[in-house]
């Protein structure tokens, strides 16, 4: 009935034997396969496994606070709600964007543009889709975790300018860092989505403002959801920056300009230090406008454009071009709006100095011994030089004038005669000593150098220097170009009798109350005799105090000294001059450079009013307002 349990091997089915051998070989090979992966390549795979789950996230540092000289806050931080999108959790990106677009009112096109920017960021990382989420929206999203499961909300510090448009050209503005800027920076301080100072103080002292980012080492799952925080390093707030600006004065001057609807640039400097007390370029802008993802401009235009393009093939690439255009046009638009400008006239405006240049001429002539204080020249309204009539601004002339009277009444004939006797290169040398025609190196970026021509300058263009060119320049015309900041430097140097100050906005930078950078007052002695300055200042004093061209700036007891300049836009020889000059854009630019008091001067200022009209009537009273405020304290 039964067969033996222990069967002899030869009775075994032959195929079974083969099968056993095959199985043996297979399992040996499997052992080696696992040996290879688990033991020989263990470290490699272990590293990859760690890389899967660990991530190091940046925590944005609050930017340093910006103060004026009295400790008033000009720029600070606020809490910003950031909407983070976890792309691993999104099922239908279109629906997701639609949802957010509906909630926040931002256009889908904008959202797509932002999304596109983060294309190369690994999907496991959440990306900041929107910044500046309103508190209402935060509550809405947070209370609907299933509807908005692909979103997360994070709190980050962001920039706030409590005074809005005040001092906008000093502060500058910030934008999100562009890919081009990211590539340019070899360090890894900045990442996509960070903001960076683009002009003004924000740019100048960016590396002090930015602080140090914190770090958060986390464990994440395959959807990028943070499961555990392993280690957290707090961010460090940026340094506190103190300016020499008196924000109260700044604001009052700005308001005066706005009230009178005047465009121009005004600067006030403390002559003890060279620190700028007020720096105005009107119109300004609102620094908040640049780094908020604000697509309110022309959303209708964009959507119309989108509809027009969407029907065409390859519309996506075309849309990208449109985005690029829009990004540019937004800036252009801001530049062209009447009361909105990124152009900082104070350091970037190129203007003829007009009669304020007579300061340079007077000093040059005195130093070169062409005149003495008693040299008299007869002005009868017109003089003939190089076979051409040259007019004084006063039709019937000033009669016999010496230097101080010529300055007081701004007599052109007197200075034409100096121009006849002075070489243009000599004039340029004195202009250069006083700070014209080159950057003053004031500490805000993008200053231009202006132009004081020399003979060689014209030769460069293969043009000849005509003697008449020098005559034009002797009253501040011709090819001369100065910026308001240079004019301020010139009058400051005169006030200090040859001590040329380094103009600056920064007072000090502090780190937790410890001063890490301080601007020490710096003066450069220029080789012009004190006697020349004294004589010049005698004239500048008369301009204001003895019924001169700036008599409207006079404040009794303050001893203001200054020089006006009225730079015509159209020639007086134009037959329609009388009629055209009443139109604003043909009205002359008005200059007034001044300082006070005469002895031991404390303050200097430059007033430049674009198309303001006569300097004595428009610019001089402005200076009066400023000095009144300065001395009344």
């Amino acid at each position: 009935m039964y067969i033996n349990d222990n069967l002899p091997l030869d009775k075994l089915d032959k195929s079974a034997l083969i099968a056993r051998v095959i199985i043996f070989v297979i399992f040996i090979l499997l052992f080696f396969a696992f040996w290879n992966i688990q033991i020989l390549k263990h470290e490699h795979y272990d590293k990859l496994a760690m890389g899967n789950i660990t991530d190091s996230l940046d925590i944005k540092a609050p930017r340093g606070v910006l103060f004026d000289k009295n400790g008033v806050i000009i720029a600070e931080n606020k809490i910003n709600f950031i909407l983070l999108l976890n792309r691993k959790k999104t099922k239908d990106i279109e629906k997701t964007l639609e949802k957010i677009s509906k909630l926040t009112g931002k256009s889908i096109i904008l959202l797509k543009k932002i999304l596109k920017k983060f294309n190369r960021v690994p999907k496991i990382r959440s990306i900041p889709l929107l910044k500046d989420l309103s508190f209402n929206n935060v509550v809405y999203i947070k209370s609907r975790p299933f509807e908005f499961q692909e979103f997360d909300i994070e709190v980050e510090p962001d920039r706030k300018y409590p005074l809005n448009r005040t001092a906008s050209h000093i502060i500058g503005y910030m934008t999100e860092i562009s890919e081009k800027e990211l590539k340019g920076k070899s360090n890894n301080i900045y990442k996509l989505g960070d903001t960076i100072g683009q002009s003004g103080i924000e740019k100048q002292y960016e590396k002090f403002f930015r602080g140090k980012k914190g770090k958060r080492d986390v464990l994440k799952n395959n959807l990028g959801v943070i499961k555990t925080i392993l280690h957290e390093q707090e961010p460090k707030i940026g340094n506190q920056v103190f300016l020499t600006i008196d924000i109260k004065l700044q604001k009052e001057i700005e308001e005066l300009l706005v009230k009178k609807r005047l465009k121009g640039a005004i600067g006030v400097v403390d002559l003890k230090t060279g620190g700028i007390l007020a720096l105005i370029s009107n119109p300004g802008f609102n620094p908040h406008d640049f780094w908020n993802q604000n697509d309110s401009i022309d959303r209708r235009f964009v959507s119309d454009l989108f509809l027009a393009i969407a029907s065409q093939p390859y519309y996506e690439t075309k849309l990208l071009q449109v985005f690029a255009i829009l990004a540019v046009t937004k800036r252009i638009e801001i530049n062209h709006k009447d009361n909105y400008s990124l152009h900082n006239k104070f350091i970037q405006g190129r203007y003829s100095p007009g009669s304020t240049f007579k300061i340079v001429m007077a000093l040059a002539a005195l130093e070169e011994n062409i005149i003495t204080k008693d040299t008299m020249i007869n002005c009868n309204g017109v003089t003939n030089i190089y076979n051409r009539p040259w007019h004084c601004w006063r039709e019937y002339g000033h009669g016999y004038v010496n230097l101080t009277k010529a300055i007081k009444d701004s007599c052109n004939i007197y200075f034409y005669n100096l121009g006849k006797k002075l070489n243009i290169d000599v004039i340029a040398r004195y202009a250069d000593l006083l700070g014209l025609g080159k950057r003053t190196n004031i500490d805000i970026p993008n200053e231009i150098s202006g132009l004081v021509p020399t003979k060689s300058f014209k030769f460069r263009d293969n043009r000849k220097w005509y003697p008449g060119d020098t005559i034009s320049i002797s009253i501040g015309g011709g090819m001369l170009e100065v910026t308001p900041v240079q004019a301020l430097l010139m009058i400051s140097t005169v006030a200090l009798r040859g001590q040329r100050p380094q103009l600056h906005l920064l007072d000090r930078i502090e780190n937790d109350g410890v001063i890490i950078k301080k601007t020490e007052p710096k003066f450069t002695k220029i080789p012009i005799k004190k006697e020349s300055f004294d004589l010049l200042i005698e004239g500048l004093f008369k301009v204001v105090n003895e019924e001169g061209t700036a008599k409207r700036a006079k404040i009794k007891g303050f001893d203001i000294c200054g020089k006006t300049g009225t730079q015509q836009i159209i020639s007086k020889e134009n037959p329609r001059y009388k009629e055209l000059v009443k139109i604003r854009k043909f009205m002359p630019h008005a200059w007034f450079v001044s300082f006070a008091p005469k002895e031991n001067p404390r303050y200097a200022s430059v007033i430049f009013i674009e198309n303001g009209g006569g300097a004595g009537t428009i610019a001089a009273p402005f200076a009066k307002e400023i000095y009144k405020r300065l001395f009344e304290k």
Binding site: Y2, I37, Y45, A49, K220, N222
Partner: protein, 358 residues
């Protein structure tokens, strides 16, 4: 009855139990970070499968062979019904709902196919054109039906039955050449007209996983990372980061061996491999005179071996992802039940070979 106990292969049975229970623990780890109930379901299925195993073990093999064709026809009928009206679950129509639980018909089709092939080839000498045609029809019909669900993994297992048949019976050389040409031609047509994009992805990503690291190559890479990160000792039970943080895909089914590798390391893998080795080695010992029974055992064991190999080789990235569960270990009631039924039949035939039934 006493004989059944005496000749019952206790060692193999305990190995199967060890592998299955180990699988249940791995499933516990795989679903630990979720709140789902894979672990309990698998435990219930395991108990149920052991009961069925003993029921099958009591059935006489003649009955199995007698009703094999009927089972085959019924299952074909269900497959057709499914294709026409089936609901899609987890991307395929392979599930049939019976009250509170669902089963995958294809798991049982494997067994029915093995039975009728075993019966058929015991009557032939060698595979010639006529036999080739017959086998083509028998295997081809369920193959197409299941491939259409679509479940290429299970369908491909049917091909393994054909390969085992060839090994058992031998084949004419001209047919081999014909088959090679047929395979080349059909793969060309499959690739261009039939395969779904995700299936193509599986193949291309297998050939170059780094290129596809965000899509289907992702699975291969993550599986290898899990296994490699395990090292010698493994990360420890419930401590594998690839599994815990869900980087390892389908870690309770297709890639359960990767989970084992990560949490128990080379030692754990070696232990499992040894268990499987003894399992196969012991069972390839047959000396029955009954050709039908012998063929069936080879077909069934071959089935398990192929599925085991495909699953393991796929986990270490040596073959494309086919989506097949690891026998006795992976989560899935139908699969587990199917393998216990197979073992029930094999155990019964083994007893038969020891007992002379005159």
């Amino acid at each position: 009855m006493r004989d059944s106990i005496r000749f019952f292969d206790k060692i193999t049975f305990f190995i199967i139990l060890a592998i299955s229970v180990g699988g249940v623990f791995l499933i516990y780890s795989a679903s630990y970070s979720d709140t789902n109930t894979f672990f309990y379901k698998q435990l219930i299925w395991l108990i149920f499968s052991i009961i069925i195993f003993f029921i099958v073990f009591r059935i006489r093999t003649e009955i199995i062979f007698r009703y094999g064709v009927l089972l085959y026809i019924i299952l074909i009928g269900i497959l057709i019904l499914q294709l026409v009206s089936g609901k899609v679950i987890a991307g395929t129509k392979s599930w049939v709902k019976f009250g509170f639980f669902s089963v995958q018909v294809s798991e049982f089709m494997k067994i029915a196919l093995a039975i009728i092939i075993a019966k058929y080839i015991s009557k032939i000498n060698k595979i010639e054109w006529k036999e080739l045609f017959m086998l083509g029809v028998i295997i081809g019909i369920p193959f197409v039906l299941i491939a259409l669900q679509p479940d290429m993994g299970t369908a491909s297992i049917f091909v393994s039955l054909f390969i085992i048949t060839i090994l058992l019976k031998g084949i004419k050389k001209s047919i081999v050449i014909f088959l090679i040409i047929l395979v080349l031609l059909s793969s060309f047509f499959l690739w261009n007209y039939f395969l779904k994009p995700y299936q193509k992805d599986r193949i291309t990503s297998f050939l170059n996983p780094e290129l596809y690291s965000q899509s289907s190559g992702y699975q291969i890479i993550q599986s290898k990372i899990a296994i490699g990160a395990g090292g010698i000792n493994g990360k420890g039970f419930l401590k594998g980061s690839q599994s815990k943080y869900k980087f390892l895909p389908t870690r309770h089914t297709d890639f359960i061996i990767s989970l084992l590798g990560e949490e128990f390391g080379f030692l754990g893998i070696s232990f499992f491999l040894i268990l499987y080795f003894v399992f196969f080695y012991r069972q390839f010992t047959f000396f029955t005179e009954n050709e039908e029974e012998l063929n069936l055992v080879y077909l069934l064991l071959g089935l398990i071996l192929f599925q085991f190999l495909i699953n393991v080789l796929m986990s270490i990235g040596l073959i494309p992802i086919l989506g097949l569960p690891l026998p006795f270990v992976s989560y899935g009631g139908s699969s587990l039940l199917g393998f216990f039924i197979i073992e029930g039949i094999i155990f019964k035939i083994r007893i038969n070979s020891y007992i002379n039934e005159f």
